[in-house]
């Protein structure tokens, strides 16, 4: 399943709203009034109708409603969106349909409505089980809110839940992170997937400003790496296997949608600033709300057209994010050139540096290579 499926498409739907912006967040998202939300959903559905009838001609293997926090919207609006998708897209019966949620914004009715409209996967942003850490991130929920959500979700029939966690937080220690990991792993069998990110301080965020002002006390590099290495070891104890730099799943529950991104599957996208990829081109919708509402069909702007070398380069830098790595045979099938003719020198160098490993048909990052992925990827740009 980790190879490119060129016969299917994926769909991403962006909801740029949230209850309150977290201090580290650099996604396009903001609080908004009810009226804006309503108008946005209308525009979004218009765009979806257009993409479904004019652009996308392959069956959808996944839909991902992300944000922002899609769960801030009233349930009817999400239902409207999914119904619109069903009306114009060829949604496969076993398609993975995910919605991102913030534990502070869910209730039983919403979860029930999601379930009924065909959403079969939840992605919950928890980040930490410690109240002090949640507070320092500017999150709006407590750990108890999260636990309650999990119970409600199970009640509503969800058995495929992802939980987002973060390491390298201000004031976080390896042992507090370990506690978060163990708590989440033992909380529920319906948690099938964990994304564990090492915090990235982005410039244009409050954290970025605090960092610049020297007011953000982050764990040192050694501790940060310790937490990262610990993550895969502990999650493994509970049956979660790492399959990407920051993603872990129980076998068979890897996120289909995201694997699409890393293996070059086409994806369409609707919504503000939403990025799509099809016909070897990358596009992006306008990031300007006013413009978007005025004309959601204006069509996404072409960001770049990939030629053969661009496609090969992406195949490498995205594929190497997966722990299974890139397939030598698939590379040759797709590009009609041997992987070693294309990148033999680079691969050889990284192999001797102990950053890449070659096993069977696959070239993958080593344990050390995962820590230094950019260093390797730059060579394939």
């Amino acid at each position: 399943m980790m190879t490119t499926d060129l016969t299917k498409s994926e769909l991403y739907i962006h909801i740029p709203f949230c209850a309150k912006k977290c201090l580290y967040c650099d996604f396009l998202s903001f609080p908004a009034d009810e009226k804006t939300k309503e108008k946005y959903i209308e525009a979004l559905c218009d765009e979806l109708l257009y993409i479904g009838s004019e652009r996308c001609d392959k069956p959808l293997r996944s839909v991902f409603i992300g944000g922002g926090t899609p769960s801030v919207l009233p349930a009817e609006q999400i239902v409207k969106v999914t119904e619109t998708v069903r009306s114009r897209f060829d949604l496969m019966p076993d398609a993975e349909v995910t919605i991102e949620c913030n534990p502070g914004t869910l209730d039983e009715d919403k979860l029930k409505a999601y379930r009924e409209c065909g959403i079969n996967r939840l992605s919950l942003g928890l980040q930490s089980s410690h109240e002090s850490e949640l507070k320092s991130l500017g999150r709006i929920h407590t750990y108890d809110d999260f636990v309650a959500c999990i119970r409600m979700a199970e009640e509503a029939g969800f058995d495929n839940i992802n939980v987002d966690l973060m390491s390298g937080l201000p004031g976080q220690s390896a042992s507090s992170f370990e506690e978060t990991l163990r708590k989440v792993c033992t909380l529920s069998d319906s948690i099938k997937h964990i994304s564990a990110y090492s915090l990235i301080v982005e410039e244009e965020t409050p954290f970025g400003q605090m960092y610049e002002d020297g007011k953000l006390e982050l764990p040192g590099e050694d501790e940060d790496r310790q937490m990262y290495h610990m993550t895969s070891r502990i999650l493994k104890e509970y049956g979660f296997e790492r399959y990407e730099i920051s993603n872990y799943a129980r076998p068979g529950y890897e996120c289909i949608h995201n694997i699409g991104y890393w293996t070059g599957v086409e994806y369409f996208a609707a919504g503000l600033d939403a990025a799509s990829y099809y016909g070897h081109c990358r596009y992006s919708d306008t990031p300007d709300m006013e413009e978007y509402l005025k004309d959601p069909l204006a069509g996404p702007a072409l960001i770049e057209k990939l030629d053969q070398s661009g496609l090969m380069s992406e195949y490498m830098i995205l594929g190497l994010r997966l722990t299974s790595g890139v397939s030598v045979s698939e590379f040759e099938n797709r590009f009609k050139i041997s992987l070693f003719d294309a990148y033999g020198k680079e691969i050889g160098r990284f192999e001797s540096d102990g950053l890449l490993e070659h096993t069977g048909d696959f070239i993958k990052l080593s344990e050390k290579g995962l820590d230094l992925a950019n260093f390797v990827m730059r060579a394939f740009i």
């Binding site: 991403y12 962006h14 990110y197 090492s198 915090l199 990235i200 590099e221 050694d222 940060d224 790496r225 990262y228 730099i245 920051s246 995201n258 991104y261 890393w262 994806y267 996208a269 600033d273 939403a274 990025a275 799509s276 990829y277 990358r282 992006s284 960001i303 770049e304 992406e314 830098i317 995205l318 994010r321 540096d353 950053l355 995962l370 820590d371 230094l372 992925a373 950019n374 260093f375 990827m377 730059r378 740009i381």
Partner: protein
């Protein structure tokens, strides 16, 4: 031409006291240009000069002034460079004048360069009269400044025009003072030609345009001229005078006149500043005094950041040299930096200007090595080398002893900062000469300083220790024996030639330590640990370590991130491309320059 109606003069001032602005006003008021034609500052016609607020090359302007006595006077205003690097050029420009206007800021008063420039003018027997500028400033104290000029410089200042060049106040007074206080030129039109070259520029149509002040004799089209120092002989094609920003041909230049000569001269090296132009068949008895061959004082390696641009750099240097004979360059090779040039400059400012012009006008990215002065190496075999590149230092066993250039430095500073400035001079191996209070609260401190101690970051240190108030001037005193060593930098055990430099043995440890610290910050982490060592004669005197890289990974990369993250990686890769490979270590270009600024006090 009636000599009594000619006034040849210049304006001398400390930087920023308003020299160029006054020049503009004089040109404006004398009506040669309409206000519309005026560029903001006519004399500073190079973009770069305007930004820095200084004038690099001397130029001249001829204007016509109708005085209160009803007569029309020819004013030849000769502009002088305002920096110590160009002292020789200044002196030749002064020699072309009969008088000078001294501009002093009504708030700042007399500064180090004011003194240096006015003494230079007096040395050339110019009649100097002061004007007090910026009298409209709230902080202006014209009376105090007048007293100061009389006390410190010793020239009459009570009737000095009080002006604001910026706002056009008092300019008429200045023009009348030029007529009355600056003497008319002397000279004999029929004597053998002797004309002083005070500048020359290269023009792609006319060839070299030589700026001269005719002392005696007459020069016109067809005159066979000879440059007495270089021996070059040519037939004059055109003579003329200087309109603002253009050349206006005329029939002849006679004694006392200032103007230009063209004669199909191909290179500036044939027309050196300070040389005497005479008639080939009827030469004057002696050349004019004061000619000197200009020698570079500071050298550094200049390399293209992209080694493919070597030819472009060569062309750019050649073009710059067309108009700047004092710029010296020759090819040089560095293991770390590849092919480049060793360039010689009149001083640090000159170096800065050339570097900026290369980058701005020729769009070149450069890596420059630490500037070095010229050391004299006396070898055991009796020979002497002028060492301009530290890498060429012979083996210590072949060296008898070394000498370094020493300057006489004058620093003017308010008394609150005297202590910290003297401390700085001591740190820089200065030898105290004298200190005098030139007025209540201000001191003129004189030191002898090794030139190599002031070419790095002395200006910056001086400014920061005096909150910007100190002003500084120096001239070369000569060479002195000194205990000098070559400091080498080893990165991952490999010597980086471009980072070697000569240093006094007592400062070696300090400098070595600072360089290692600085390089540690500049060199990115690699897969392996990188030792950085400073060595003298093979002995390690300081060491730092760049730790191995532990983390370089993007935690997230989803559909919306791909283009952005790719760009980020591309940018990083672009940055890496611009690095220099030394052994297995990649060193950013900035590392070669960052070691130039090592003073902790900045």
């Amino acid at each position: 031409m009636d000599k009594s109606l000619i006034r040849n003069f210049c304006i001398v001032a400390h930087i920023d006291h308003g020299k160029s602005t006054l020049a503009d006003r004089i040109i404006e008021k004398t009506g040669l240009l309409t206000a519309r034609e005026m560029q903001e500052q006519v004399l500073d016609n190079m973009e770069l000069e305007r930004e820095r607020g200084i004038t690099i090359k001397s130029q001249a302007v001829r204007t016509v002034y109708k005085a209160n006595d009803g007569k029309e006077y020819i004013f030849n205003l000769i502009d002088t460079p305002g920096h110590v690097d160009f002292n020789y050029e200044v002196s030749r420009s002064l020699a072309a004048c009969d008088g000078a206007i001294l501009v002093v800021d009504a708030a700042q008063g007399v500064e180090a360069q004011t003194l240096a420039n006015v003494y230079l003018a007096l040395d050339h027997n110019l009649d100097v009269f002061p004007v007090i500028n910026k009298i409209d400033l709230p902080s202006a104290e014209p009376q105090r400044v007048k007293d100061e000029i009389e006390d410190v410089i010793g020239i009459e200042a009570q009737d000095a025009p009080l002006i604001s060049a910026k706002n056009g106040i008092g300019i008429e007074d200045v023009l009348e003072a030029v007529v009355h206080k600056i003497p008319a030129p002397k000279g004999d039109d029929s004597a053998p030609l002797s004309a002083l070259i005070f500048d020359s520029i290269y023009d792609s149509y006319k060839g070299v345009i030589v700026f001269v002040r005719v002392m005696d004799g007459t020069v016109k089209k067809g005159t066979k001229i000879k440059m007495m120092a270089t021996g070059a002989c040519e037939e004059v094609v055109e003579v003329g005078y200087f309109g603002a920003g253009r050349f206006i041909p005329c029939d002849e230049l006679t004694a006392g006149m200032v103007g230009y000569i063209t004669a199909s001269i191909k290179t500036l090296s044939e027309t050196e500043v300070g040389d005497t132009v005479t008639e080939a068949d009827n030469p004057c008895a002696q050349p004019l005094p004061g000619y000197k061959k200009v020698q570079p004082v500071v050298y550094c390696g200049v390399y293209p950041a992209d080694s493919a641009k070597y030819e472009d750099l060569k062309e750019a240097l050649e073009k710059l040299q067309l108009n700047d004979a004092s710029l010296f360059f020759e090819p040089e090779t560095s293991l770390a930096l590849g092919f480049g040039f060793r360039c010689g400059f009149l001083g640090l400012l000159h170096l800065d200007i050339i570097q900026e012009r290369l980058e701005r006008e020729y769009d070149l990215d450069l890596v420059t090595t630490a500037p070095s002065v010229v050391y004299k190496v006396y070898k055991t075999d009796g020979s002497v080398i002028d060492l301009t590149n530290p890498s060429n230092l012979p083996d210590p066993s072949e060296i008898e002893y070394m000498e370094e250039p020493i300057v006489n430095a004058e620093i003017m500073v308010t008394k609150d900062f005297v202590g910290s400035i003297m401390e700085l001079c001591q740190q820089r191996r200065g030898r105290y000469v004298s200190m005098e209070y030139i007025e209540a609260g201000r001191a003129l401190i004189k030191y002898e300083l090794p030139l190599n101690e002031i070419i790095y970051d002395f200006f910056d240190a001086l400014k920061s220790r005096s909150r910007g108030y100190a002003s500084f001037d120096y001239d070369l005193k000569g060479y002195e024996k000194s205990s000098l060593v070559k400091l080498d930098i080893l990165i991952n055990k490999e010597q980086v030639d471009a980072l070697s430099f000569i240093v006094h043995s007592e400062s070696a440890y300090e400098r070595g330590r600072k360089m290692c610290e600085k390089l540690k910050d500049e060199i990115p982490r690699h897969l392996f640990e990188i030792p950085i060592q400073a060595c003298v004669g093979g002995r390690v005197i300081a060491r730092e370590t760049v730790k191995a890289m532990r983390k370089d990974v993007l935690a997230k990369c989803y559909g919306g991130d791909i283009t952005r993250k790719k760009k980020l990686l591309e940018k990083q890769k672009e940055g890496k491309k611009r690095m220099r490979q030394v052994g297995s270590v990649e060193i950013p270009q900035s590392a070669f320059m960052s070691v130039l600024k090592l003073d902790d006090d900045n």
